[in-house]
């Protein structure tokens, strides 16, 4: 079953067309990797899906709904940068999420904070970038969402901690949900994806299940190198 459908999706910033007449569907219940070089439109696509960008052409539907109030209720989004107010303590951030998201599991969030050794009363502005990322990741994964959209979740994490964070994500997202992760760190993540989307030159260059890619006798990374060798 398809969860996301895009038809003739085009998004430009001035004269720079980032997404050019895309047509694609993405399946439900999969771990989907969104790959592509920097500036290829991964973040733009994620912002469209989360309802943060509206001035695009074409149609996008998630579970048959245009991104908006209804879809925001079942999408849990992790942006590239921390969005928590500096003055908030960890417990304030948890309370904020509990106020607005019905699918937020407060107990789960508190356990995750404990797992990351983040004291409830610690203020965000006194936390390192890595700690802030862990806080936001805990908030996002504490929702029992139907679709998780994670934009470069390992981007700011040092190589030593990447495996831990990845394991944490895979152990804590709602298993029946769909996980859409953008990254350029294919080698670190290729073992967890069940579906891959390659984005480049404003186009979807590949949209295949990981099983099909492996059946060709290639890894996702090898396929990525193959596709982008022709593009860039």
């Amino acid at each position: 079953m398809d969860l996301i459908t895009a038809e003739n999706l085009t998004k430009s910033y001035g004269s720079n067309t980032v997404l050019n007449n895309l047509n694609f569907t993405l399946p439900a219940g999969e771990v989907i990797g969104l790959f592509g070089p920097n500036g290829c439109g991964k973040t733009t696509m994620m912002k469209i899906l989360t309802g943060l960008i509206h001035d695009y052409e074409g149609t996008v539907k998630i579970k048959g709904e245009v991104p908006g109030e209804k879809t925001k209720a079942f999408i849990s989004y992790l942006p590239e940068q921390s969005f928590v107010h500096d003055w908030m303590r960890n417990v304030d951030a948890v309370n904020y999420y509990a106020d607005f998201f019905r699918d937020f599991d407060r107990e789960r969030a508190l356990k995750m904070l404990e797992h990351f050794h983040l004291p409830l009363k610690q203020k965000c502005k006194s936390m390192s970038k890595g700690q802030q990322e862990k806080l936001v990741l805990s908030l996002v994964l504490s929702r029992r969402a139907e679709l998780y959209i994670l934009d470069e979740p390992l981007g700011g994490v040092d190589p030593a901690a990447r495996n831990d964070i990845l394991e944490f994500i895979m152990n804590n997202y709602a298993k029946e949900a769909t996980l859409l992760i953008s990254t350029h760190l294919i080698s670190d993540l290729q073992s967890v994806f069940t579906h891959a989307v390659f984005l480049g030159n404003g186009q979807v260059l590949l949209n295949e299940s990981a099983e099909d890619i492996l059946a060709e006798g290639k890894t996702v990374e090898q396929r990525f190198m193959e596709v982008f060798a022709h593009v860039w």
Binding site: L52, D55, K72, Y77, F100
Partner: protein, 279 residues
């Protein structure tokens, strides 16, 4: 859900301005208390201390009236268009609810500071009339006469009218501020950056308050206050010339300010919904 939005917006805005509010509160309290103790203790140079104390209090609050507008604007900008916008704009609520909540919370903070300023100004005038202490009630009459108000009843009408007028004024002020900031985040208006936000705010606010006053003069209905009570009249200028009329308040200025403030909500919501991209 709106209640939760408002609660969190009040909290977020408070955290953006509590240092300012604390400093203002301390200076004002010290100034007013110094004036009071100088009077009660019959200190040497008591008159000078009271004059300086009272003046300092309202000057600080006047300063706060400007700064609070900036603080509310910065808070709006950060929480909608800054990195916190990723959280604000992915909440499962309508954009119009978000805007309404931020407007109401901004209005509450700005209005409270404006009321505090007017209160300090009134206290200062009483200080100047030497009415703090035992002779307050009897001497207050002198203050009222100085204000052109012959009785406490008139004072009530005047203050009541002023607070309502202030509410409408602040409502329009906050909406214009938010609209200016929103416009400054939409291409091609975004080219001017933060300066653009201030510029658009001043232009829109200037035009709308000017138009509201012009309409108010064209439709001069309103209230006039006399000793026998408030009277609604179709021409306040004409009625103001009557005997015993002290308080005069045109109504349509206020009505148009409120109408303009409400109308600004729609293009602002549209722009946030359709044109703004969170950076």
């Amino acid at each position: 859900m709106f209640g939760k939005l408002l609660k969190n917006d009040l909290k977020i805005q408070f955290h953006g301005m509590y240092v300012l509010l604390f400093i203002v509160l301390v200076i004002t309290a010290v100034a007013e208390l110094a004036a009071l103790f100088a009077k009660l203790g019959n200190w040497q140079n008591a008159g000078l201390i009271r004059a300086i104390g009272g003046t300092l209090a309202w000057v600080v609050l006047l300063f706060a009236c400007f700064v609070i507008v900036g603080a509310v604007g910065v808070s709006f900008s950060k929480t909608v268009f800054g990195r916190s916008g990723y959280l604000t704009l992915t909440l499962p609520v309508k954009t119009s609810s978000l805007v309404r909540s931020k407007t109401l919370s901004g209005l509450i903070w700005v209005w409270l500071v404006y009321v505090a300023f007017l209160t300090s100004l009134f206290l200062w005038m009483m200080e100047m009339q030497d009415v703090i202490g035992e002779g307050t009630i009897s001497a207050a009459g002198g203050v009222l006469q100085a204000l052109g108000l012959p009785s406490f009843r008139m004072l009530g009408y005047s203050i009541g009218g002023l607070l309502v007028y202030l509410l409408a004024f602040v409502f329009l002020l906050v909406q214009c501020l938010y609209f200016g900031i929103t416009l400054a985040n939409v291409r091609p208006f975004s080219k001017l950056g933060g300066f653009g936000a201030v510029l658009y705010f001043l232009i829109v606010f200037g035009i709308l308050t000017g138009v509201a006053q012009a309409f108010g003069r064209m439709l001069p209905i309103g209230f006039v206050g006399t000793e026998s009570g408030l009277v609604f009249t179709s021409d306040v200028a004409l009625s103001a010339a009557g005997a015993g009329v002290v308080v005069v308040r045109r109504t349509m200025d206020i009505v148009f300010e409120i109408v303009f403030a409400v109308l600004l909500h729609f293009p602002m919501t549209y722009l946030i919904n359709k044109k703004v991209n969170v950076a």
